[in-house]
């Protein structure tokens, strides 16, 4: 935040006890305290260093333990605070010094310059709209992601990116290649791609989670894809999937504990005449319900099995 020149202003109480109170911090506790005190007849000075009172509560969706909407609780109190005749709001202010004894304090408060006359301002917001510098992003200092990656990974990513034009349009092809190289998209790789292609991290993450070709968790050594296209569906693919799930003990998208198999589903491979189709690594297999057990045994022992004759096809 740019430094704002301060105007020293002291709020001094004279020695006669007038029953005024200063509440420091305008969060929900400060607000409630101020309201209670003000209702009891005390003059209250509510001080907060921020531009507005409310604290952390407006950022919350729900409150513990009743799950009530937090703004619904807070908003009426904000209004009441600003309207209460006994409360003097001092926002953008900091307590600088405190002297005296209970019942007779002198507080020094530094009120930051607002450059806006609070008495006249109606909070219409027009000044915000037209201010030309309000879109200057306030980012943490940029760090080179490469310092957190091992050299080998950096080299792999650099090699992939060098095969594509270095701009936004390469994002999907680059991620496709990297997903193949790393078998998934590790977080550091995503960060690095965002840095090199100069695409916001949020956009890279959006793309990486939008398309089914990408995964953020490591895949197993072998991938089993079950086609769930319409033709496969009517020919029993859901039952084949159930069978595979039972046999491997995993759900689609998961990997077996030994890291051998990852189960995936795909919305049509375009080999509908074969259905139901299961692709193990790159081999297409025609798997009718009940046949997966044999297939996986053969696969494990490394024997390629010929495609069984389709059912229901008469010569």
């Amino acid at each position: 935040m740019a430094a704002i020149s301060g105007e020293e202003a002291a709020v001094k109480k004279n020695t006669s006890k007038k029953g005024s109170v200063m509440v420091v911090g305008g969060g929900i506790s400060g607000i409630q305290s101020s309201l209670d005190l003000a209702d009891a007849g005390f003059k209250v000075y509510l001080v907060d260093e921020n531009q507005s009172i409310g604290g952390a509560m407006p950022q919350l969706d729900k409150t513990f333990p009743t799950n009530d909407c937090s703004m619904c609780i807070l908003a009426p109190k904000l209004v009441a605070t600003s309207r209460h005749p006994n409360i003097k709001l001092m926002t953008a202010s900091e307590v600088k010094g405190l002297q005296g004894e209970p019942g007779n304090f002198v507080v020094t408060v530094n009120r930051k310059a607002r450059s806006v006359d609070e008495e006249l301002c109606t909070a219409c917001g027009d000044c915000v709209e037209i201010c030309p510098v309000r879109f200057v992003p306030q980012l943490p200092e940029e760090k080179d992601v490469r310092t957190e990656m091992n050299d080998e990974d950096v080299k792999k990513v650099d090699e992939v990116i060098s095969n594509h034009p270095q701009d936004e349009s390469s994002l999907v092809p680059v991620l496709e290649d990297l997903n193949e190289v790393f078998n998934h998209l590790p977080e550091m790789v995503i960060r690095y791609v965002s840095q090199v292609l100069d695409v916001p991290l949020s956009q890279v993450y959006n793309v990486a989670t939008f398309f089914t070709a990408f995964t953020l968790t490591p895949r197993g050594e072998h991938t089993i894809k079950v086609c769930l296209g319409t033709a496969c569906h009517v020919r029993g693919a859901p039952r084949v999937l159930d069978e595979i799930k039972l046999s491997l003990g995993i759900e689609p998208g998961e990997t077996t504990k030994d890291g051998m198999f990852t189960l995936e589903t795909v919305n049509c491979l375009g080999t509908c005449a074969l259905g139901p189709v299961v692709v193990m690594d790159d081999e297409y297999h025609m798997v009718t319900p009940g046949k997966f057990g044999d297939l996986i045994e053969d696969f494990k022992s490394g024997i390629a099995k010929p495609i069984p004759k389709p059912e229901g096809v008469k010569k």
Binding site: T230, A231, V234, R239, L246, N267, C272, M286, G312, V313
Partner: protein, 618 residues
């Protein structure tokens, strides 16, 4: 054959094509065609090819060519070989019998009767075009598949390839557009908008750079026409793109092909390299002044990317979410430049139109839907595969003549067209003519051309639920009616499938459907209720069976069925008990077994493995 040299003028290309055509005409030997493609290879076309090569070598045949081609469409009878020029087809072939065919048919011209296709009565047919699967087809776009090796540009040039492009170069761009317009070609991606009109908009749009895109993101489940075309005849698509680029004035093009089609991507990449090498891409092509570049873009797996604005978003490096139209891509498309997007099949049709002329083309098909349409006929029919038929053929001909009826003697129930946006058409409408308008009228749609045949073992509530789940998965989530509507539809359908409806569920589904139709942002959401609406319209009795009788007539919905063993039929072979994944079946050998309903997960395995028909489903 030595690699072709770079060509720098139209005349040179003309001479090259003339020479290659002459060579081909002069060839009097036989050609053994082994159709492959993704599905052919999966069924063992590789082994057949190996056997053919070995046999030809063993027999020392000199005047025989062996050609590995893309799929010729009859997927359920693969692997096969086709012998040219006689066009004898040996379907569903065992590699061990290949030598016999080479020795008899290729060498001596004698047909091996027992390996031919047989009809149910046992009559054999040798010629490909005489098979019932082929004789109602009109293979205008796919017909060259057997005549060319998809990886050889010489093969394509030898059948007159790239002549259509040269013809276009001799015309003005406006004339080319006029020709496409008068051919009546409508977009083969599904919506059926006039291709010529679309081109005209893009031509007239102002912009320093214009783009064209070939949409090969064939996401409809049950459809694979684009894959087959790209794998079998990649150059006919590229030629269409060249013609389109010339007509529109585009300088850059993209081929957007889904990653799930690795072979198609490889084939088209190879074809691109070939045309770049001979000078059909780049600056000042053939000295015509036209400059054009093409690039392959692999789609990363999102159904919604078949929608044009979502597709462009993903090329630009963003998540594939659609945006509202207008502005239409013709005005503001890729990187806000004028862009023209057509489906793979549309581009291939363009090549054909330029070759044969708009008059010839518009005579095929019906008045409002000209030309042929490619369909993938799959599901429960006897024959399945890729079918190219003239527009206007009836569904009945499609299913019972070409498709050979329903497999396993089951009864036909419905045919689903148009993918998840389409609908299910019942038996009573089988005389419906297949064209854009008739299908839309029936509540379904042409879509990209997937046709899934369903028999009486298919539960229509389950099918509707399947599409809703599919779309729920693929909805990008940008607009609320689609995102939330589909979730609610899924909840309601699951409820019905479990027999736990709350009363009024059907009415609720209908209400949801009408909101989604009106309020969704893109076609995915607007058409998403179609499968529910058509199944409700034509198969309401099935919904009612679930809701009122708590029964699933097709025995699909697990919550509404129970498995039991008929004690009179069971011989106690123990097969079902060993296969049961949850050990729910008990009994001693040679004594009738029983199923524990508490343990049973209703996987149906026992029913499938029983050799004595003893497992009953109620």
């Amino acid at each position: 054959m030595s690699p072709l040299k770079k060509i720098s003028s139209v005349k040179e290309l003309e001479q090259l094509i003339d020479r290659l055509e002459k060579e081909k005409r002069g060839w009097k030997g036989k050609t053994i065609v082994v159709p492959g493609g993704t599905c052919g290879n999966a069924r063992g076309a590789g082994n057949i090819l190996k056997a053919v090569n070995e046999a030809v070598e063993k027999e020392g045949l000199k005047d025989v060519k062996v050609r590995a081609t893309g799929c010729i469409g009859y997927c359920s009878q693969e692997p096969m070989i086709l012998i040219l020029p006689e066009r004898v087809l040996y379907p569903d072939l065992d590699p061990a019998r290949v030598l016999e065919i080479v020795q008899k048919t290729v060498k001596k011209g004698k047909i091996v009767e027992e390996l031919l296709w047989k009809d149910p009565a046992g009559k054999t047919i040798s010629k490909m075009e005489e098979l019932p699967y082929y004789n109602k087809q009109k293979r205008m776009i796919t017909g060259n598949t057997e005549n060319l090796d998809p990886n050889s540009i010489s093969d394509y040039l030898a059948i007159g390839g790239y002549r259509a492009y040269m013809k276009a170069l001799n015309m003005t761009p406006e004339k080319v557009i006029e020709e496409v317009k008068s051919s009546g070609l409508r977009g083969r991606g599904g919506a059926g908008f006039s291709t010529g009109m679309k081109w005209e908009f893009a031509r007239k749009a102002e912009g320093d750079i214009k783009y064209i895109i070939c949409n090969g993101d064939e996401g409809d489940p049950g459809a694979f026409m684009d894959r087959n075309l790209l794998e079998g005849s990649p150059h006919s698509v590229l030629e269409g793109l060249l013609i389109g680029a010339y007509a529109i004035g585009a300088s850059k093009g993209y081929l957007y092909i889904r990653k799930e089609y690795p072979l198609a991507v490889r084939t088209i990449r190879n074809a691109l390299t070939q045309i770049r090498d001979i000078g059909l891409l780049g600056e000042n092509i053939l000295g015509s002044g036209m400059s054009f570049e093409l690039e392959v873009y692999e789609g990363a797996g999102a159904f919604v990317c078949g929608e044009e604005t979502a597709l462009m978003a993903s090329i630009e490096g963003r998540a594939g979410e659609p945006r509202p139209r207008p502005p239409f891509p013709a005005q503001s498309g890729l990187w806000e430049k004028p862009t023209n997007i057509n489906n793979v099949k549309s581009w291939a049709n363009v090549t054909l139109i330029m070759n044969k002329g708009a008059d010839w083309y518009s005579k095929v098909g019906t008045e409002t839907s000209t030309g042929t349409m490619l369909f993938s006929l799959v599901g429960k029919s006897n024959n399945s595969g890729l079918v190219e038929v003239p527009m206007g053929i009836t569904l009945k001909e499609m299913i019972f003549d070409i498709g050979g009826g329903i497999a396993n003697g089951n009864k036909f129930k419905a045919i689903q067209t148009g993918g998840p946006s389409g609908g299910c058409i019942p038996e009573s409408l089988l005389d419906l003519k297949i064209d854009y308008d008739s299908l839309t009228k029936a509540g379904a749609m042409m879509g990209s051309g997937g046709m899934i045949v369903m028999d009486d073992k298919t539960c229509m509530v389950d099918v509707a639920g399947y599409f809703v789940k599919f779309l729920m998965d693929e909805s990008c989530g940008k607009c609320a009616p689609c995102r939330e509507g589909l979730v609610q539809m899924d909840i309601i359908l699951e409820r019905i499938k479990r027999g736990e409806d709350r009363g009024g569920d059907i009415e609720l589904l209908e209400e949801l459907a009408s909101v989604m139709k009106d309020a969704s942002l893109c076609a995915l959401g607007q058409t998403a209720p179609n499968p529910i609406l058509t199944t409700l319209k034509y198969f309401k009795d099935e919904y009612e069976a679930h809701i009122i009788d708590k029964k699933c007539p097709a025995h699909v919905c697990k919550a509404l069925i129970t498995y039991s063993i008929d004690k009179k039929k069971c011989v106690g072979c123990t097969l079902c008990a060993t296969k049961c994944p949850v050990n729910a079946i008990s009994g001693t050998a040679k004594k009738p077994h029983t199923i524990d309903p508490e343990e049973c997960v209703k996987c149906g395995m026992c029913h499938d493995v029983c050799n004595f028909d003893a497992v009953e489903v109620v």
